[in-house]
């Protein structure tokens, strides 16, 4: 079938019949060209309404390099209009303890854990070649030299862009963390079932 832009020469009978049924003026729609403006507008509106797939980053590791990658992806996703959630669990939760907290925990074992690995986003260690902090220090120098945003800066950007942080209740208990130990803006603690529901509803998962 060939569509013509001149409504006067063809489809007159069909157009009139359609107009009759739908109650529209064929002259008005045809004069806009071969595609009615209302249709184009409706399509454009529908396109706008399509929401991007949600992203859930399961932040499991407390290693510097993995924390860094998680926050780069989270802030970029949020900047791209993707609804983004970070589930903070196990060592990934230690990252989101306030930087100024030195020792956390309720009993001696939890306190010992915090002593051995200081919590907080600015105190992350590299999983390889940490060399008593020499590795992270060099990473920091290189980041500054090449204009790479540090995890703390990325966290601030992620929060400003609306990334939602969900912390794991079980990990809070196991590490003896109190709400006051954690950074601001974490919301209510959740469990694995919350994450599973998000994933089964179609959220894209990343386990880092």
């Amino acid at each position: 079938m060939t569509l013509t832009t001149d409504p006067a020469t063809s489809f007159d009978a069909i157009a009139e019949a359609i107009a009759d049924v739908e109650g529209i003026d064929p002259e008005a729609t045809a004069s806009e060209g071969s595609v009615p403006e209302a249709f184009v507008q409706a399509m454009a509106e529908e396109r706008d309404e399509v929401k991007p797939r949600e992203l859930v980053i399961i932040c499991y590791s407390g290693d510097l390099e993995k924390t860094w990658a998680s926050l780069i992806l989270a802030s970029t996703a949020a900047a791209s209009g993707v609804p983004t959630k970070m589930f903070l669990t196990f060592w990934g939760l230690q990252t989101f303890v306030k930087d100024e907290k030195r020792i956390t925990g309720r009993n001696w074992m939890q306190k010992m854990m915090a002593f051995m690995q200081r919590p907080g986003i600015s105190h992350r260690k590299l999983s390889k070649m940490n060399f008593l902090g020499m590795g992270p220090w060099m990473m920091g120098v290189l980041a500054k030299q090449y204009g790479v945003a540090k995890p703390k800066e990325l966290l601030e950007a992620a929060q400003a862009l609306g990334v939602e942080f969900m912390h794991c209740q079980m990990t809070m208990v196991m590490f003896g963390l109190k709400k006051d130990d954690m950074i601001d803006g974490l919301g209510e603690p959740v469990g694995a079932a919350t994450v599973i529901e998000l994933l089964s509803n179609g959220a894209a998962p990343l386990f880092i």
Partner: protein, 78 residues
């Protein structure tokens, strides 16, 4: 050449991924629909990243040019 009515400029020169995109997203957010944002970046990856970001967010990439190491983008807010 047509003079564009730029609402705000993002200077992302010297910044690496993902900050040019993050800063642009933050600059675009408060603007009215149709407003223009100009971005300058030196991150070579931004050349492809801004095209992808505009596709993803529905903002329009009006202009894209490169002058030496500096990439320039003009984006119209959706």
């Amino acid at each position: 050449m047509e003079v564009l009515d730029i609402a705000t400029t993002v200077d992302a020169r010297g910044l690496s991924c993902p900050m040019p995109i993050v800063k642009t997203a933050q600059a675009v957010k408060p603007l009215a629909s149709g407003a223009l944002v100009e971005v300058r970046a030196t991150d070579p990856g931004s050349q492809k990243d801004f095209v992808a970001w505009c596709r993803q967010t529905g903002n329009e990439l009006v202009e894209q040019s490169v002058d030496g190491a500096v990439h320039r983008f003009v984006i119209r807010r959706k």
